[in-house]
Symmetry: C2
Amino acid sequence: MALNNEHAKGSLDIAIVGGGLVGSVEALYLAKRGHNVRIYEYREDIRKTPQVRGRSINLALSVRGRRALKDVGLEQHIIEEHGIPMKGRRIHRLDGSTYVIPYDARNNQCIYSVGRNYLNASLLKESDNYENVTKYFNHKLIEANLQKGTLTFLKTDTKENVDVKADLIIGADGAFSAVRKSMMKQPLFDYTQKYIEHGYLELCIPADEQGSFQMPANYLHIWPRGNFMMIALPNQDCSWTVTLFMPFTSFKSIDTEDKLLAFFEKYFPDSIALIGRKKLIEDFFGGSPSPLVFVKCRPYHVEDKALLIGDAAHAVVPFYGQGMNAGFEDCTILDHLFQKYNDDLAKILLEFSDTRWIDTFEICDLALYNYIEMRDLVTRPSYRIRKALDDLIYWLLPDIWVPLYNSVTFTTMPYSECAKNRQWQNKVLKYIFTVLGVSTLVGVFYAFK
Amino acid sequence: MALNNEHAKGSLDIAIVGGGLVGSVEALYLAKRGHNVRIYEYREDIRKTPQVRGRSINLALSVRGRRALKDVGLEQHIIEEHGIPMKGRRIHRLDGSTYVIPYDARNNQCIYSVGRNYLNASLLKESDNYENVTKYFNHKLIEANLQKGTLTFLKTDTKENVDVKADLIIGADGAFSAVRKSMMKQPLFDYTQKYIEHGYLELCIPADEQGSFQMPANYLHIWPRGNFMMIALPNQDCSWTVTLFMPFTSFKSIDTEDKLLAFFEKYFPDSIALIGRKKLIEDFFGGSPSPLVFVKCRPYHVEDKALLIGDAAHAVVPFYGQGMNAGFEDCTILDHLFQKYNDDLAKILLEFSDTRWIDTFEICDLALYNYIEMRDLVTRPSYRIRKALDDLIYWLLPDIWVPLYNSVTFTTMPYSECAKNRQWQNKVLKYIFTVLGVSTLVGVFYAFK
């Protein structure tokens, strides 16, 4: 194999466990750098199966994710041919009336509702264009020796075992990662997995008889109800994926059709006709609520041999719409490190591991917080005043005052800096209000003196 | 098998994984209730091996642990024949002078330094008296199906596999529990393991030439040095087990004999002669620092089939001396639940799981806090003033004001209540000082008017 300047060490053999969204993007990044990439995916080729159960059907793509798609040459296609722009939150009141809270009143930036399967299939299809990417479907990881760089897969169709060796193993195998399980045997591995006490259940608002959207399409619809909520994201076929989030105990208490209808009539009356009474009952009792877990761990690497990325490294709850975007950002950051350290894996993995967790831990916490914002705070006057104030100052001073949601969603500022910014903004506002309050008191004092 | 009134359901077959301190105590509790108990221990019989490496050699026994030992008939023996009372902390200043901070100035209660091996051997020996306890050593758990109540062990001597079935599986197999690993596969299992950035290394102060203690025996000796510390607990043979706790980075920076001696001359000058220069060098460079991990998880049970206790359920850092005591308390609580629910495992396991974590999470946090108290706060005037105040009010109002350390160590108040008590005490003191402060100001104001 010919050496070239850019890859002084020659092509690396890299095995990616998991051919989902993050694994596929990472494969493209690495393929573009000239490395030999093998993707091992537990499921069969998503392009041959209509629907993967148990994963949310659509996702919100924002700037971090777009940057990675741009790097691998797919941004324009996904945004223009597929994604549905969402300009803001459309809040449904109890009486069925709605109002809009724009995501970015200043620059009109939007997030995009994209189909998980479509995006995954597009990424895999793009990788067909690279000779140095090979994909192995129906390969289930059953054994890993990360120090030695060896993996054993069970071929789920033929029941054969396959042994694999690689210069680098990348675990992109999701929140219940098998690569991470192997990594946990290492000493000094910090690990947290926590299930929140709420679950989710997916429902559907179909297209109307003319095949059009039944609700205004360019929004993320929210029915915030305090301790629980329902949301809806638009699909390409003009249907809506509706997700009901609430405590498991509440799901459990709704155990008859009458109770279900009474519950919806009380809290989501406008949605019943949209979903359809019969379909609501079918879908609600046809499935069972899924749990919501988050995972924090570190380090992400084993020497110069193995690395976790995406949900395998940092699963988050879905409330900031940042799970996929953070995973894609992992790939972008890694690509920069491959460039910076000229494919020196020991340095690349160490720096990724030592720095990335600060931001992923932060987005994990922000996503937990955002559930409370979406289901509850969003309806409160205090929230709306703060939001108006944030938007106003952002309008006046766009370079120094980016509201939290905007910095997370529409910039590539590290998540930890977004959070720090917010703390700083809180302090400034508190100071301003204190000064205003004191001035007013002094004014009143002198006025009545 | 004859039924009796106390055990309406008949004897249960119970498999305990782990024959360490907590597993052995649990076996005795269950044996006394008439159940058939099998202990499976990975190591060989501790009574046949002189020393288990990698575990601290002595431990502090306090009231919670004593209660369990009393229940199984061993308290008197351990306290009177073996334990060495420690009346307080003996603080070593930089100049080698010392002073005492008593644990319980009011009632002179002490904690006891006991040898891990001696205690474990005593418990196993006691279980020899029960026909319904069988012990299997050299049995390593390699597979578990907790729902089905089946376990597979590898006999480490003969390399045979042994399949086992039980009505109840109890995981008492320590901080790196294999039973817990199996439980992690369950959905909705919350889990955290975290390594702190400090490690520990054990040294030894031998007995003097007359075979006597080289330091006053009835104390826990501490060399608090801010970000690190050294402690010493007395052993029966008049030696001291000395443990140096400090950041891994500090351990790493001491990489020559000269640096080691300079470090000890600077921070622990009085200890060098006690340990012996040659032995210090040997022991320091002969071992490597061990990590300190804590584990929080829940639930502790799988249906009516499996349960975690002791370090397997809640490993803590050693700074409150409560690891063993909390594990023994698990056994006491379980025994009460067996009594309360008349051996109905589903109810027993559920209540233990639903309630115990509140206290074990608390002692986990308290133990982390106590490292800071021991290594740093203990030397500060603010700490000593607070301690004096606490002791004074405790003296005056023993029924309503038990200082935190005393409630954790010398009562069986649930750990979470100990912590709540402390918060309440903080509030009261803050209030008193505010009132005192305001009164003083008012007094000064009128005096100078």
